[in-house]
């Protein structure tokens, strides 16, 4: 479940930090920026990019690497296509989340809103990352970089979130598009994702809906 949550977290973080401020942020500056960000999200609620991910797990001796495409729509819809020899497709429409493995013809279905721990954390995350209450859930540390971008460190300040994520670092380029996310989990696992070719075109709603192919075996790892 934590792995699933991190996948969502890393994905949503892309939407969260197209920051446009260039100066070290004081509290009033941050508040002003949050308002601008909300306006920006209203204007361009979609985002798409290609990604390359390196995942270190305490279970594995060496990290796993993967590539693919990712697409989002505020506040909670996303699509993640992993390519390579073991591809997968992750789609969420905000109500349920599917992961489909074409090689195994197997799909996992997660219904959101039924697991208190997961949903509370997700609610905290989405509420926080909608920028209205982000500092209620996270301590933010924003450091300007020489390249003109920013390094934003989010540390959860609520213990239920701390059990799921230890730290999320988001690196923005000078255009304030997300360049990299670096997610650290409580047991030390780490997911580093680099993004390229960002686009803010509209994405059709159908991209966030999933219908299992005929013959696919459907699992419900957290129950129906």
């Amino acid at each position: 479940m934590k792995r699933l949550f991190c996948l969502v977290l890393a994905s949503l973080s892309l939407l969260s930090f197209p920051l446009q401020a260039a100066q070290p942020l004081t509290a009033p500056e941050r508040a002003a920026l949050l308002q601008r960000l909300q306006a920006l999200h209203q204007k361009a609620p979609c985002f798409a990019a290609t990604f390359s991910e390196q995942r270190s797990s305490r279970l594995l001796k060496k990290p796993l690497t993967s590539t693919g495409r990712i697409a989002f729509q505020i506040p909670n819809k996303f699509r993640r296509e992993m390519s390579g020899s073991n591809p997968s497709l992750t789609i969420s429409n905000g109500r349920e989340l599917w992961i489909y493995y074409p090689n195994f013809k197997e799909a996992e279905q997660y219904t959101l809103g039924k697991r208190a721990m997961f949903d509370d954390a997700l609610a905290a995350l989405t509420a926080g990352l909608n920028f209205a209450r982000v500092e209620e859930f996270y301590q933010l540390e924003i450091t300007p970089e020489e390249s003109g971008g920013y390094r934003i460190v989010l540390t959860p300040n609520r213990s239920n979130l701390k059990r799921i994520v230890a730290q999320l670092v988001v690196l923005l380029d000078k255009e304030l598009d997300v360049r990299r996310t670096d997610l650290t989990l409580p047991k030390g696992d780490q997911v580093v994702t680099s993004y390229s070719a960002p686009r803010r075109d509209a994405i059709p709603e159908s991209a966030f809906e999933f219908v299992p192919p005929p013959g696919a075996n459907i699992n419900h790892p957290l129950g129906k």
Binding site: L59, G84, S88, F104
Partner: protein, 810 residues
């Protein structure tokens, strides 16, 4: 005489010191013939859960990070030397929770059916292990969270299927929620090192808890600390036993002061007062020593013994002294006055002591061990008091007589008597009218006597433990019915398994039919010895070493680090040991660490003694009546299983009809006893009828008083009715004795009415002083008795006395 007294005191003190033990268990007040009460005692005695200390961290204002505080609190609590284990989160989230789950799964694996266990062994075959880890590696590469979850929780893929019956039986999340949905309360549960639930140990543990609370609050630097509430058996017993000291002191001091005050106001003499107190002290010592000899432990309600004895026993002294004083005022010397007063009142005192003692001894029929004790001891005490007051008392009063100055009470009494002798009729009618009016009000459907059926009525007012428990219920189980426990005791493991299997099937069917809301049973933990033996036999042929090698090679081949999979190696090692005949892995109590959170789950369902388990049934509504009990029992009636149902609401549904029946039974017994005794004494129907009418109207007035004051009846103070009948009749006895002084009736009246009034007041004071007790059984009993005695005193002075004079009864 003094030497004999000193010897008596020494013997009594020796008995009390060497044999006196106090029992603070409220369960011992309840009648033991009910299955529900016996089952509750079994639960209390055998289940560790009954010994858990439950902390509620409460932050209604959301002023702090409650989750953060709970984590900090739990971590600090774990470090306390008096704490064995702590549960502040789901066992799955505990640091070693996942690893310990493998330990927990081993007996469950061995309890699988033959086909399921065969599948388990197939999954442990070397080629199956190699295939599984290759697959999981591929799934992880594809980004599967499920694969990672499985590898974390159940690397070999055999634990999850074995846990299926475990989750079907109960889930820790559902049965023991640790956080309120509104985020204002977190629960942390701890098991302490205390092995006994006696008052001393509980008080000592509570002192450590209080110290810890202060330290942990002071150490929290991230905002205001939430309120820390504490409940559980330890907290209740500690609180009650602390209250017992207060109760003993407050009630004895209260009654002695009140009684002394009344005596002094009435007689303005110190030496006779001291003489009475000395005799009462001897009575109390004698009664307590008798209690220590007769009973292994003195129950909590016997703390009221001394106050009640003081209030009742002083009556005899006061009556005798009042008469004695009148005789001295008439010129008799000390021996003559003593003889005269004992002669005049001796018979009455013996009858009075007998009726009062009988009233209290009738509590033996109550089936409540606590009240039976109290009744027997007061019965003994009253008889001792009557005997000593007629003998020893006048030794201590001394022979000097000082004619008193102006005695306002005596003057008022005389004035009242003058009026009575002149025109008793209006007073009879007035008093009768008032008493009938009150009785009519008692019987009328206007207002009602509150009968408190809430278990809360058994706990002290302002109980911290009670408040904590109710707050937890309010926050975590709002709207849910009170659970009912079903306790099954098996003859042996096979019987235990058979009973739980059958009972669980029946419970699930009842749930399906909508007859109960929910059920959590230990059926998954009630293993079949036959299945265990069969599966152990299959393990003899299992090559654990080959599986171990295959696991190591599979991990290497697929790039997994071996360390996180140690639990899988441990599981294979356990299978190897079981195959060799070492059965240690089947006993959780040996394999699970003492601080494991999983023990909380097990302790909730299984007792420390073998083959006793408890299920938790959530009925559709809280059981409140015998009919609902019956419906539940019918719904869960299981051939081949003999569960005992209990739980506080369930017990109350048994006890309320019991107490109401006892009220009627004991009252009838008391009335019959009074009639039998008084027929012998009165030898006339009319005065006896007046006395009985007066008693009946007094009870009516008492009920009206309960309606007016709102004083509730509860399980225990209903027993006050027979006591009031037994005590209240005494005043009528003294009055008839005075009336019978043929030629000296007026003189005898003068010497008796004042002491009767004063002794009534002291009895009210004695019972009333119990109102200061923390223990609800004691305080409510005292207050209701005081009200009843007040009604009896009123009807004696204003109805019986004038009626006798009016009609000239002898």
């Amino acid at each position: 005489m003094l030497a004999a007294m000193a010897l008596f005191v020494a013997v009594c003190v020796a008995i009390i010191v060497t044999r006196g033990r106090v029992d603070s268990d409220v369960l011992n007040l309840l009648p033991q013939r009910f299955d529900s009460v016996r089952a509750l005692k079994v639960y209390d005695r055998e289940f560790t859960q009954a010994r858990e200390i439950t902390f509620a961290l409460w932050d209604e204002a959301h002023a702090t990070d409650l989750d953060g505080f709970a984590e900090y609190f739990g971590d600090a609590l774990r470090k306390e030397p008096w704490v064995v284990r702590v549960m502040d989160r789901s066992p799955m989230d505990a640091p070693e929770g996942t690893r310990e789950l493998q330990t927990l799964a081993i007996p469950l694996l061995l309890d699988q059916s033959a086909p399921a266990f065969a599948q388990t062994l197939q999954k442990l075959a070397p080629e199956a292990i190699a295939k599984r880890f290759a697959m999981k590696r591929t799934e992880m590469e594809a980004g599967s969270p499920k694969a990672e979850m499985e590898l974390n929780l159940d690397p070999l893929g055999i634990v999850a299927p074995a846990l299926t019956p475990f989750s079907a039986s109960f889930s820790a999340e559902n049965t023991r929620p640790l956080a309120a949905a509104d985020g204002t309360l977190r629960v942390v549960i701890a098991v302490s090192t205390q092995t006994s639930l006696d008052a001393e140990t509980c008080r000592a543990t509570l002192a450590k808890v209080d110290d810890f609370k202060a330290r942990v609050r002071a150490g929290w630097k991230s905002g205001p600390a939430p309120e820390i509430l504490v409940t559980g058996r330890t907290a209740y017993v500690g609180e009650l036993s602390d209250g017992m000291k207060h109760d003993v002191l407050a009630t004895i001091l209260g009654s002695v002061l009140l009684v002394s005050g009344v005596f002094y106001v009435g007689f303005r003499r110190v030496r006779p007062l001291l003489a009475i107190l000395l005799v009462l002290l001897l009575c109390c010592l004698g009664a307590v020593a008798a209690g220590a000899l007769l009973f292994s432990k003195l129950n909590v309600v016997t703390m009221g013994l001394c106050s009640i004895l003081v209030g009742l026993g002083v009556d005899f002294g006061m009556l005798l002294y009042g008469t004695y004083q009148t005789q001295r005022n008439c010129g008799l010397d000390h021996p003559a006055a003593t003889t005269a007063s004992v002669g005049q009142l001796g018979r009455g005192i013996l009858f009075g002591a007998s009726t009062t003692a009988a009233a209290f001894v009738s509590l033996l029929l109550s089936e409540s061990p606590g009240f039976a004790q109290l009744g027997v001891l007061i019965g003994i005490g009253i008889l001792i008091a009557a005997a000593l007051m007629m003998t020893l008392f006048f030794v201590f009063t001394g022979s000097t007589h000082k004619p008193g100055g102006q005695d306002l009470i005596f003057t008022a009494t005389q004035s009242y008597l003058d009026r009575l002798f002149r025109a008793p009729k209006p007073i009879v009618y007035g008093a009768l009218g008032l008493l009938v009016l009150l009785t009519a009000f008692a019987a009328a459907p206007v207002g009602n006597v509150r009968f408190d059926v809430n278990p809360q009525s058994l706990e002290p007012p302002n109980s911290h433990a009670g408040f904590a428990l109710r707050k937890i219920k309010e926050k975590l189980a709002k709207g849910k019915a009170e659970p009912v426990l079903a306790i099954i005791q098996g003859r042996d493991a096979a019987d235990f398994h058979a009973q739980w299997s059958a009972f669980q099937t029946q419970c699930l069917a009842a749930k399906e039919r909508g007859e109960i809301a929910n059920i959590s049973t230990p059926a998954a933990f009630a293993f079949s010895p036959q299945r265990l033996e069969e599966n152990l036999a299959r393990l003899h042929a299992f090559d654990a070493a080959a599986s171990r090698t295959a696991l190591k090679e599979a991990l290497d081949a697929n790039g997994f680090d071996a360390a996180p999979f140690q639990s899988a190696f441990d599981l294979l090692d356990a299978f190897a040991n079981l195959g060799r005949g070492d059965r240690a892995a089947l006993d959780w109590r040996r394999t699970l660490p003492e601080n494991s959170s999983w023990r909380f789950v097990i302790d909730r369902f299984l007792s420390n003694a073998p083959n006793i388990g408890a299920a938790y049934i959530t009925p559709n509504q809280t059981i409140g009546a015998p009919a609902e009990q019956k419906a539940l029992r019918r719904a869960l009636d299981t051939p081949g299983a003999a569960p005992l149902f209990t739980g506080w609401s369930y017990v109350m549904a048994d006890l309320v009809p019991w107490s109401q029946t006892k009220l009627v039974e004991l009252s009838i017994a008391m009335v019959l006893f009074n009639i039998a005794l008084l027929v012998f004494m009165y030898r006339a129907v009319a005065p006896l009828a007046v006395l009985m009418l007066s008693l009946g109207l007094s009870i009516g007035a008492m009920i009206a008083g309960l309606k007016i004051t709102g004083l509730p009846l509860n399980l225990f103070n209903v027993l006050s009715f027979p006591l009031v009948l037994g005590v209240g009749v005494d005043y009528g006895i003294y009055v008839i004795l005075a009336v019978r002084q043929r030629d000296r009736a007026r003189h005898a009246m003068a010497s008796i009415v004042k002491p009767v009034m004063l002794s009534g007041l002291t009895t009210i004071a004695g019972f009333g002083s119990l109102g200061w007790a923390n223990h609800p059984a004691l305080s409510s009993l005292g207050l209701v008795c005081a009200l009843g005695v007040a009604c009896c005193l009123f009807s004696t002075l204003f109805f019986i006395l004038p009626a006798y004079l009016w009609k000239g009864y002898r």
